[in-house]
Protein backbone atom coordinates (compact mmCIF):
# COMPACT_ATOMS: atom_id res chain seq x y z
CA UNK A 1 0.00 0.00 0.00
CA UNK A 2 2.84 2.29 0.89
CA UNK A 3 4.35 1.73 -2.56
CA UNK A 4 1.04 2.42 -4.26
CA UNK A 5 0.73 5.72 -2.39
CA UNK A 6 4.21 6.75 -3.45
CA UNK A 7 3.28 6.07 -7.06
CA UNK A 8 -0.07 7.91 -6.97
CA UNK A 9 1.48 10.80 -5.09
CA UNK A 10 4.21 11.41 -7.64
CA UNK A 11 1.92 10.95 -10.64
CA UNK A 12 -1.03 13.01 -9.48
CA UNK A 13 -0.80 14.97 -6.27
CA UNK A 14 2.89 15.84 -6.33
CA UNK A 15 3.45 15.74 -10.05
CA UNK A 16 6.94 17.06 -10.77
CA UNK A 17 5.80 19.43 -13.50
CA UNK A 18 2.50 20.62 -12.11
CA UNK A 19 3.20 20.57 -8.39
CA UNK A 20 6.92 21.28 -8.02
CA UNK A 21 7.21 23.14 -11.33
CA UNK A 22 10.33 21.22 -12.27
CA UNK A 23 11.14 20.40 -15.88
CA UNK A 24 9.17 23.28 -17.33
CA UNK A 25 11.52 23.68 -20.30
CA UNK A 26 10.56 20.47 -22.12
CA UNK A 27 7.00 20.82 -20.79
CA UNK A 28 6.58 24.00 -22.83
CA UNK A 29 9.09 23.14 -25.54
CA UNK A 30 7.93 19.77 -26.84
CA UNK A 31 4.26 19.84 -25.96
CA UNK A 32 3.12 21.26 -29.29
CA UNK A 33 2.74 17.87 -30.94
CA UNK A 34 1.26 14.75 -29.41
CA UNK A 35 3.78 12.38 -30.97
CA UNK A 36 6.82 14.34 -29.83
CA UNK A 37 5.33 14.86 -26.38
CA UNK A 38 4.71 11.17 -25.88
CA UNK A 39 8.16 10.25 -27.15
CA UNK A 40 9.75 12.79 -24.88
CA UNK A 41 7.72 11.43 -21.97
CA UNK A 42 8.85 7.88 -22.64
CA UNK A 43 12.50 8.91 -23.02
CA UNK A 44 12.34 10.88 -19.79
CA UNK A 45 10.57 8.05 -17.98
CA UNK A 46 13.34 5.70 -19.05
CA UNK A 47 16.02 8.09 -17.85
CA UNK A 48 14.16 8.78 -14.59
CA UNK A 49 13.60 5.13 -13.71
CA UNK A 50 17.19 4.16 -14.37
CA UNK A 51 18.44 7.27 -12.62
CA UNK A 52 16.46 6.36 -9.51
CA UNK A 53 17.76 2.79 -9.51
CA UNK A 54 21.39 3.66 -10.20
CA UNK A 55 21.62 6.70 -7.96
CA UNK A 56 20.08 4.80 -5.07
CA UNK A 57 22.82 2.19 -5.38
CA UNK A 58 25.54 4.79 -5.70
CA UNK A 59 24.17 6.74 -2.78
CA UNK A 60 23.80 3.74 -0.50
CA UNK A 61 26.80 1.61 -1.34
CA UNK A 62 29.37 4.23 -2.28
CA UNK A 63 28.57 7.69 -0.99
CA UNK A 64 27.11 6.68 2.38
CA UNK A 65 29.55 3.83 2.89
CA UNK A 66 32.55 6.10 2.41
CA UNK A 67 30.95 9.10 4.11
CA UNK A 68 31.23 11.30 1.03
CA UNK A 69 27.57 12.32 0.69
CA UNK A 70 28.60 15.77 -0.48
CA UNK A 71 29.40 14.14 -3.82
CA UNK A 72 25.73 13.43 -4.48
CA UNK A 73 25.14 16.32 -6.89
CA UNK A 74 28.16 15.72 -9.06
CA UNK A 75 27.82 11.94 -9.15
CA UNK A 76 24.07 12.12 -9.85
CA UNK A 77 24.64 14.50 -12.73
CA UNK A 78 27.23 12.07 -14.07
CA UNK A 79 24.67 9.27 -13.99
CA UNK A 80 21.99 11.39 -15.67
CA UNK A 81 24.33 12.65 -18.38
CA UNK A 82 25.49 9.14 -19.19
CA UNK A 83 21.94 7.81 -19.35
CA UNK A 84 20.84 10.62 -21.64
CA UNK A 85 23.73 9.85 -23.94
CA UNK A 86 22.64 6.25 -23.98
CA UNK A 87 19.04 7.15 -24.80
CA UNK A 88 20.24 9.49 -27.51
CA UNK A 89 22.32 6.79 -29.17
CA UNK A 90 19.46 4.35 -28.91
CA UNK A 91 16.92 6.71 -30.48
CA UNK A 92 19.30 7.78 -33.23
CA UNK A 93 19.77 4.16 -34.16
CA UNK A 94 16.28 2.76 -33.86
CA UNK A 95 13.86 5.70 -33.94
CA UNK A 96 15.52 8.40 -36.08
CA UNK A 97 12.21 10.17 -36.68
CA UNK A 98 11.57 10.64 -32.99
CA UNK A 99 15.18 11.73 -32.66
CA UNK A 100 14.56 14.52 -35.20
CA UNK A 101 11.30 15.55 -33.52
CA UNK A 102 12.86 15.87 -30.08
CA UNK A 103 15.87 17.74 -31.45
CA UNK A 104 17.65 19.83 -28.86
CA UNK A 105 15.25 18.79 -26.08
CA UNK A 106 16.69 15.30 -25.97
CA UNK A 107 20.19 16.27 -24.76
CA UNK A 108 18.45 18.82 -22.57
CA UNK A 109 17.00 15.99 -20.46
CA UNK A 110 20.46 16.12 -18.87
CA UNK A 111 19.70 19.52 -17.46
CA UNK A 112 16.05 18.70 -16.81
CA UNK A 113 15.77 19.66 -13.17
CA UNK A 114 13.00 17.12 -12.67
CA UNK A 115 15.52 14.30 -13.12
CA UNK A 116 18.05 15.69 -10.68
CA UNK A 117 15.21 16.73 -8.39
CA UNK A 118 14.00 13.16 -8.39
CA UNK A 119 17.38 11.82 -7.29
CA UNK A 120 17.70 14.43 -4.56
CA UNK A 121 14.15 13.98 -3.26
CA UNK A 122 14.80 10.28 -3.08
CA UNK A 123 17.81 10.80 -0.81
CA UNK A 124 15.98 13.41 1.24
CA UNK A 125 12.98 11.15 1.87
CA UNK A 126 15.22 8.17 2.64
CA UNK A 127 13.40 5.76 0.33
CA UNK A 128 14.54 2.17 0.17
CA UNK A 129 15.46 0.50 -3.11
CA UNK A 130 11.99 -0.61 -4.22
CA UNK A 131 10.44 2.68 -3.16
CA UNK A 132 13.07 4.55 -5.14
CA UNK A 133 12.43 2.55 -8.27
CA UNK A 134 8.67 3.12 -7.98
CA UNK A 135 9.27 6.79 -7.26
CA UNK A 136 11.48 7.16 -10.34
CA UNK A 137 9.07 5.34 -12.61
CA UNK A 138 6.10 7.26 -11.19
CA UNK A 139 7.89 10.56 -11.74
CA UNK A 140 8.37 9.62 -15.38
CA UNK A 141 4.73 8.60 -15.77
CA UNK A 142 3.63 11.88 -14.17
CA UNK A 143 5.89 13.83 -16.50
CA UNK A 144 4.53 11.97 -19.53
CA UNK A 145 0.97 12.54 -18.32
CA UNK A 146 1.51 16.28 -17.93
CA UNK A 147 3.18 16.51 -21.35
CA UNK A 148 0.50 14.52 -23.14
CA UNK A 149 -2.37 16.47 -21.55
CA UNK A 150 -0.63 19.69 -22.49
CA UNK A 151 -0.04 18.51 -26.05
CA UNK A 152 -3.71 17.57 -26.33
CA UNK A 153 -4.87 20.96 -25.12
CA UNK A 154 -2.44 22.77 -27.37
CA UNK A 155 -3.63 20.71 -30.30
CA UNK A 156 -7.16 21.97 -29.64
CA UNK A 157 -5.92 25.51 -29.06
CA UNK A 158 -4.44 25.60 -32.55
CA UNK A 159 -7.97 25.47 -33.92
CA UNK A 160 -9.21 28.30 -31.74
CA UNK A 161 -9.36 31.97 -32.47
CA UNK A 162 -7.19 33.24 -29.62
CA UNK A 163 -7.06 36.99 -28.98
CA UNK A 164 -3.88 38.34 -30.57
CA UNK A 165 -1.93 39.38 -27.46
CA UNK A 166 -2.39 35.90 -25.95
CA UNK A 167 -1.12 33.91 -28.90
CA UNK A 168 1.93 31.71 -28.60
CA UNK A 169 3.80 31.46 -25.32
CA UNK A 170 1.28 33.55 -23.37
CA UNK A 171 -1.65 31.21 -23.82
CA UNK A 172 0.62 28.20 -23.22
CA UNK A 173 1.69 29.57 -19.86
CA UNK A 174 -1.92 30.35 -18.96
CA UNK A 175 -2.94 26.82 -19.81
CA UNK A 176 -0.03 25.44 -17.78
CA UNK A 177 -1.16 27.47 -14.79
CA UNK A 178 -4.76 26.33 -15.09
CA UNK A 179 -3.63 22.75 -15.50
CA UNK A 180 -1.57 23.00 -12.32
CA UNK A 181 -4.60 24.44 -10.57
CA UNK A 182 -6.71 21.55 -11.81
CA UNK A 183 -4.15 19.05 -10.52
CA UNK A 184 -4.43 20.63 -7.09
CA UNK A 185 -7.84 18.97 -7.02
CA UNK A 186 -6.05 15.66 -6.54
CA UNK A 187 -4.49 16.75 -3.24
CA UNK A 188 -5.96 14.82 -0.37
CA UNK A 189 -6.05 11.68 -2.49
CA UNK A 190 -3.00 10.39 -0.69
CA UNK A 191 -2.86 10.37 3.12
CA UNK A 192 0.21 12.15 4.38
Amino acid sequence: MELFFIFVAIVLTQNFVLHYFLGICPFLGVSDEMEGAFGMGIATTFVMTLTAIITWNINTFILKAFNVEFLEYVSFILVIASLVQLVEMFLKKYLPELYETLGIYLPLITTNCAVLGLALFMVLREYNFVESAIFGFGAGVGFTLALVIMAGIRGELNEEDIPKPFRGTAITLLVAGLLALAFMGFSGLVPT
Binding site: I58, I62, L63, F66, N67, V68, F70, L71, V74, S75, L78, V79, S82, Q85, L86, M89, F90, K92, K93, P96, E100, K164, P165
Partner: protein, 282 residues
Amino acid sequence: MFGPVVIISASTMAGLGLLFAGLLGFAHTKLKVEEDPEVTEIEDILPGLDCGACGYPGCNQLAKAVAEGEAPPDSCVPGGEEVAEEIADLLGLEVSSEPGRMRLAVVHCGANNEEKNRVGNYEGVESCRTAELTTGGNMKCEYGCLGYGDCARACPFDAIEMVDGLPRIDPDNCTACGECVETCPRDIIVVEELDLEGDFVKVACNSEDEGSAVREKCDVGCIACGLCEQVGPDEVFSVEDNLSQMDYSGYGDDADFAMAIDKCPTGCIIRFPSPQEASETD
Protein backbone atom coordinates in the same frame (compact mmCIF):
# COMPACT_ATOMS: atom_id res chain seq x y z
CA MET B 1 49.53 15.45 2.75
CA PHE B 2 46.04 14.69 1.33
CA GLY B 3 43.31 13.93 3.77
CA PRO B 4 41.60 10.56 3.34
CA VAL B 5 38.37 12.33 2.31
CA VAL B 6 40.06 13.88 -0.68
CA ILE B 7 41.48 10.58 -1.80
CA ILE B 8 38.18 8.77 -1.34
CA SER B 9 36.25 11.47 -3.17
CA ALA B 10 38.69 11.59 -6.03
CA SER B 11 38.82 7.84 -6.46
CA THR B 12 35.02 7.54 -6.16
CA MET B 13 34.45 10.06 -8.91
CA ALA B 14 37.23 8.65 -11.05
CA GLY B 15 35.79 5.15 -10.61
CA LEU B 16 32.26 6.24 -11.46
CA GLY B 17 33.50 8.25 -14.41
CA LEU B 18 35.46 5.32 -15.78
CA LEU B 19 32.54 2.98 -15.27
CA PHE B 20 30.12 5.16 -17.22
CA ALA B 21 32.69 6.01 -19.86
CA GLY B 22 33.23 2.31 -20.38
CA LEU B 23 29.48 1.68 -20.62
CA LEU B 24 28.98 4.48 -23.11
CA GLY B 25 31.96 3.39 -25.14
CA PHE B 26 30.53 -0.10 -25.32
CA ALA B 27 27.08 1.26 -26.24
CA HIS B 28 28.64 3.44 -28.90
CA THR B 29 30.11 0.50 -30.75
CA LYS B 30 26.83 -1.38 -30.49
CA LEU B 31 24.52 1.46 -31.44
CA LYS B 32 26.66 3.24 -33.98
CA VAL B 33 24.75 4.88 -36.81
CA GLU B 34 26.40 4.88 -40.19
CA GLU B 35 25.95 8.45 -41.38
CA ASP B 36 26.14 8.96 -45.06
CA PRO B 37 29.42 10.82 -45.69
CA GLU B 38 27.74 12.56 -48.61
CA VAL B 39 25.25 14.21 -46.24
CA THR B 40 28.05 15.69 -44.16
CA GLU B 41 29.86 16.92 -47.24
CA ILE B 42 26.73 18.56 -48.62
CA GLU B 43 26.01 20.12 -45.26
CA ASP B 44 29.51 21.60 -45.26
CA ILE B 45 28.80 23.29 -48.58
CA LEU B 46 25.42 24.67 -47.50
CA PRO B 47 25.53 28.05 -45.79
CA GLY B 48 24.30 26.65 -42.47
CA LEU B 49 21.77 29.42 -41.92
CA ASP B 50 18.84 27.06 -41.25
CA CYS B 51 16.61 29.72 -42.81
CA GLY B 52 14.08 27.24 -44.13
CA ALA B 53 13.69 28.94 -47.51
CA CYS B 54 14.17 25.57 -49.23
CA GLY B 55 11.12 24.15 -47.50
CA TYR B 56 13.07 21.89 -45.14
CA PRO B 57 13.46 22.73 -41.43
CA GLY B 58 17.20 23.20 -41.65
CA CYS B 59 20.35 22.68 -43.65
CA ASN B 60 20.87 19.18 -42.27
CA GLN B 61 17.47 17.99 -43.49
CA LEU B 62 18.03 19.56 -46.90
CA ALA B 63 21.43 17.87 -47.13
CA LYS B 64 19.79 14.53 -46.46
CA ALA B 65 17.08 15.16 -49.04
CA VAL B 66 19.65 16.20 -51.64
CA ALA B 67 21.80 13.16 -50.93
CA GLU B 68 18.78 10.90 -51.36
CA GLY B 69 17.83 12.65 -54.56
CA GLU B 70 14.56 13.99 -53.19
CA ALA B 71 15.59 17.60 -53.62
CA PRO B 72 17.48 19.09 -56.56
CA PRO B 73 21.02 20.39 -55.88
CA ASP B 74 19.92 24.00 -56.43
CA SER B 75 17.32 23.93 -53.64
CA CYS B 76 19.29 26.23 -51.39
CA VAL B 77 17.88 29.71 -51.93
CA PRO B 78 20.43 31.87 -50.10
CA GLY B 79 23.34 29.78 -51.41
CA GLY B 80 22.46 30.64 -54.98
CA GLU B 81 24.37 29.41 -57.98
CA GLU B 82 27.71 28.87 -56.27
CA VAL B 83 26.35 26.42 -53.73
CA ALA B 84 24.21 24.70 -56.36
CA GLU B 85 27.23 24.16 -58.58
CA GLU B 86 29.40 22.88 -55.77
CA ILE B 87 26.77 20.38 -54.71
CA ALA B 88 26.15 19.34 -58.30
CA ASP B 89 29.90 18.82 -58.76
CA LEU B 90 30.02 16.70 -55.64
CA LEU B 91 27.16 14.51 -56.75
CA GLY B 92 28.08 14.53 -60.41
CA LEU B 93 24.80 16.14 -61.39
CA GLU B 94 23.91 18.97 -63.72
CA VAL B 95 22.28 22.07 -62.34
CA SER B 96 18.90 22.21 -63.95
CA SER B 97 18.60 25.92 -63.75
CA GLU B 98 15.64 27.67 -65.19
CA PRO B 99 17.12 30.94 -66.34
CA GLY B 100 15.18 34.10 -66.54
CA ARG B 101 13.03 33.99 -63.42
CA MET B 102 13.80 35.04 -59.90
CA ARG B 103 11.91 35.19 -56.65
CA LEU B 104 12.00 38.49 -54.87
CA ALA B 105 10.27 40.25 -52.01
CA VAL B 106 8.05 43.05 -53.29
CA VAL B 107 6.84 45.92 -51.11
CA HIS B 108 3.25 46.94 -51.78
CA CYS B 109 3.22 50.45 -50.43
CA GLY B 110 4.54 53.59 -52.04
CA ALA B 111 3.95 56.29 -49.46
CA ASN B 112 7.24 57.78 -48.33
CA ASN B 113 7.61 59.86 -45.18
CA GLU B 114 6.18 62.96 -46.80
CA GLU B 115 3.24 61.15 -48.32
CA LYS B 116 2.22 59.21 -45.22
CA ASN B 117 -0.75 61.01 -43.73
CA ARG B 118 -0.52 60.93 -39.95
CA VAL B 119 -3.14 61.38 -37.28
CA GLY B 120 -1.71 62.33 -33.91
CA ASN B 121 1.65 61.28 -32.56
CA TYR B 122 2.97 57.82 -31.88
CA GLU B 123 5.57 57.92 -29.11
CA GLY B 124 5.83 54.20 -28.44
CA VAL B 125 8.48 51.65 -29.24
CA GLU B 126 9.90 52.08 -32.72
CA SER B 127 8.55 48.83 -34.02
CA CYS B 128 5.85 48.20 -36.60
CA ARG B 129 4.51 45.24 -34.68
CA THR B 130 4.17 47.19 -31.45
CA ALA B 131 2.61 50.14 -33.19
CA GLU B 132 0.14 47.94 -35.01
CA LEU B 133 -0.79 46.02 -31.86
CA THR B 134 -1.22 49.04 -29.60
CA THR B 135 -2.66 51.99 -31.45
CA GLY B 136 -2.55 50.67 -34.97
CA GLY B 137 0.20 53.19 -35.59
CA ASN B 138 -0.62 56.80 -36.31
CA MET B 139 -1.22 56.47 -40.01
CA LYS B 140 -4.50 57.38 -41.58
CA CYS B 141 -4.13 54.42 -43.89
CA GLU B 142 -4.70 51.11 -42.15
CA TYR B 143 -2.93 49.16 -44.87
CA GLY B 144 0.19 51.18 -45.54
CA CYS B 145 3.78 50.78 -44.41
CA LEU B 146 4.29 52.02 -40.84
CA GLY B 147 7.94 52.62 -41.60
CA TYR B 148 9.58 51.49 -38.37
CA GLY B 149 11.69 48.93 -40.18
CA ASP B 150 10.79 45.60 -38.55
CA CYS B 151 11.39 43.98 -41.93
CA ALA B 152 14.87 45.48 -42.26
CA ARG B 153 15.78 44.12 -38.83
CA ALA B 154 14.29 40.71 -39.60
CA CYS B 155 16.16 40.29 -42.90
CA PRO B 156 18.97 37.76 -42.37
CA PHE B 157 20.74 38.92 -45.54
CA ASP B 158 20.88 42.68 -45.10
CA ALA B 159 18.79 43.09 -48.21
CA ILE B 160 16.35 45.64 -46.79
CA GLU B 161 17.18 49.23 -46.10
CA MET B 162 14.69 51.78 -44.80
CA VAL B 163 14.77 54.76 -47.15
CA ASP B 164 12.48 57.69 -46.53
CA GLY B 165 10.02 55.64 -44.50
CA LEU B 166 9.82 52.72 -46.90
CA PRO B 167 11.75 49.48 -47.11
CA ARG B 168 13.97 49.29 -50.16
CA ILE B 169 14.80 45.76 -51.20
CA ASP B 170 18.18 45.06 -52.70
CA PRO B 171 17.42 42.47 -55.39
CA ASP B 172 21.01 41.20 -55.36
CA ASN B 173 20.90 40.26 -51.70
CA CYS B 174 17.26 39.22 -51.41
CA THR B 175 16.91 35.45 -51.36
CA ALA B 176 13.11 35.42 -51.04
CA CYS B 177 13.39 33.55 -47.75
CA GLY B 178 10.20 35.22 -46.55
CA GLU B 179 11.34 36.41 -43.11
CA CYS B 180 10.12 39.94 -43.88
CA VAL B 181 6.79 38.61 -45.12
CA GLU B 182 6.34 36.85 -41.78
CA THR B 183 7.42 39.90 -39.82
CA CYS B 184 5.38 42.65 -41.45
CA PRO B 185 2.25 43.08 -39.34
CA ARG B 186 0.38 44.55 -42.27
CA ASP B 187 1.33 41.93 -44.85
CA ILE B 188 2.68 44.55 -47.21
CA ILE B 189 5.61 42.47 -48.42
CA VAL B 190 4.91 39.56 -50.73
CA VAL B 191 7.36 37.19 -52.39
CA GLU B 192 6.76 37.19 -56.14
CA GLU B 193 8.38 35.29 -58.96
CA LEU B 194 9.46 37.75 -61.61
CA ASP B 195 10.71 37.42 -65.16
CA LEU B 196 14.26 38.77 -65.36
CA GLU B 197 13.73 39.83 -68.97
CA GLY B 198 10.46 41.61 -68.29
CA ASP B 199 9.83 44.93 -66.57
CA PHE B 200 9.98 45.05 -62.80
CA VAL B 201 6.70 46.76 -62.10
CA LYS B 202 4.51 46.68 -59.02
CA VAL B 203 1.32 48.12 -57.62
CA ALA B 204 2.67 50.11 -54.70
CA CYS B 205 -0.45 49.92 -52.57
CA ASN B 206 -2.07 47.40 -50.31
CA SER B 207 -5.26 49.22 -49.39
CA GLU B 208 -8.56 47.44 -49.70
CA ASP B 209 -10.48 50.60 -48.91
CA GLU B 210 -12.87 51.96 -51.48
CA GLY B 211 -11.52 54.55 -53.88
CA SER B 212 -13.00 57.58 -52.14
CA ALA B 213 -11.68 56.44 -48.76
CA VAL B 214 -8.23 55.87 -50.22
CA ARG B 215 -8.20 59.36 -51.77
CA GLU B 216 -8.96 60.83 -48.37
CA LYS B 217 -6.14 58.95 -46.65
CA CYS B 218 -3.33 58.85 -49.17
CA ASP B 219 -2.25 60.63 -52.33
CA VAL B 220 -0.47 57.66 -53.83
CA GLY B 221 -2.88 54.82 -53.08
CA CYS B 222 -4.72 52.59 -55.50
CA ILE B 223 -8.29 53.84 -55.96
CA ALA B 224 -9.36 50.80 -57.90
CA CYS B 225 -10.38 52.82 -60.95
CA GLY B 226 -9.53 49.94 -63.23
CA LEU B 227 -7.66 52.00 -65.84
CA CYS B 228 -4.66 49.68 -65.62
CA GLU B 229 -6.87 46.76 -66.55
CA GLN B 230 -7.76 48.57 -69.77
CA VAL B 231 -4.46 50.10 -70.83
CA GLY B 232 -1.99 47.62 -69.34
CA PRO B 233 -0.68 44.47 -70.96
CA ASP B 234 -3.34 41.81 -71.43
CA GLU B 235 -4.38 39.88 -68.36
CA VAL B 236 -1.75 41.31 -66.06
CA PHE B 237 -3.75 43.73 -63.94
CA SER B 238 -7.00 42.83 -62.27
CA VAL B 239 -8.89 44.82 -59.70
CA GLU B 240 -10.06 42.74 -56.76
CA ASP B 241 -11.05 43.89 -53.27
CA ASN B 242 -10.71 47.53 -54.34
CA LEU B 243 -7.09 46.95 -55.19
CA SER B 244 -5.28 46.46 -58.47
CA GLN B 245 -3.31 43.25 -58.40
CA MET B 246 -0.66 41.99 -60.78
CA ASP B 247 -0.25 38.51 -62.12
CA TYR B 248 3.49 38.10 -62.44
CA SER B 249 3.29 34.75 -64.12
CA GLY B 250 1.42 36.14 -67.08
CA TYR B 251 3.90 38.36 -68.88
CA GLY B 252 7.33 38.16 -70.42
CA ASP B 253 9.77 40.59 -71.97
CA ASP B 254 7.31 41.86 -74.56
CA ALA B 255 4.82 43.32 -72.10
CA ASP B 256 4.63 47.11 -72.25
CA PHE B 257 3.82 48.88 -69.02
CA ALA B 258 4.41 52.45 -70.20
CA MET B 259 0.71 53.16 -70.64
CA ALA B 260 -0.35 51.68 -67.32
CA ILE B 261 2.33 53.58 -65.43
CA ASP B 262 1.50 56.77 -67.25
CA LYS B 263 -2.28 56.55 -66.93
CA CYS B 264 -2.55 55.50 -63.28
CA PRO B 265 -4.18 58.60 -61.77
CA THR B 266 -2.45 58.31 -58.40
CA GLY B 267 0.82 57.00 -59.80
CA CYS B 268 0.87 53.91 -57.66
CA ILE B 269 2.01 51.64 -60.46
CA ILE B 270 5.75 52.03 -60.41
CA ARG B 271 8.92 50.41 -61.66
CA PHE B 272 11.44 49.09 -59.20
CA PRO B 273 15.02 48.05 -59.79
CA SER B 274 15.82 44.63 -61.22
CA PRO B 275 19.14 43.05 -60.20
CA GLN B 276 20.85 44.39 -63.35
CA GLU B 277 19.69 47.93 -62.80
CA ALA B 278 20.60 47.77 -59.16
CA SER B 279 24.17 46.78 -59.95
CA GLU B 280 24.40 49.43 -62.68
CA THR B 281 23.44 52.24 -60.35
CA ASP B 282 25.96 51.19 -57.71
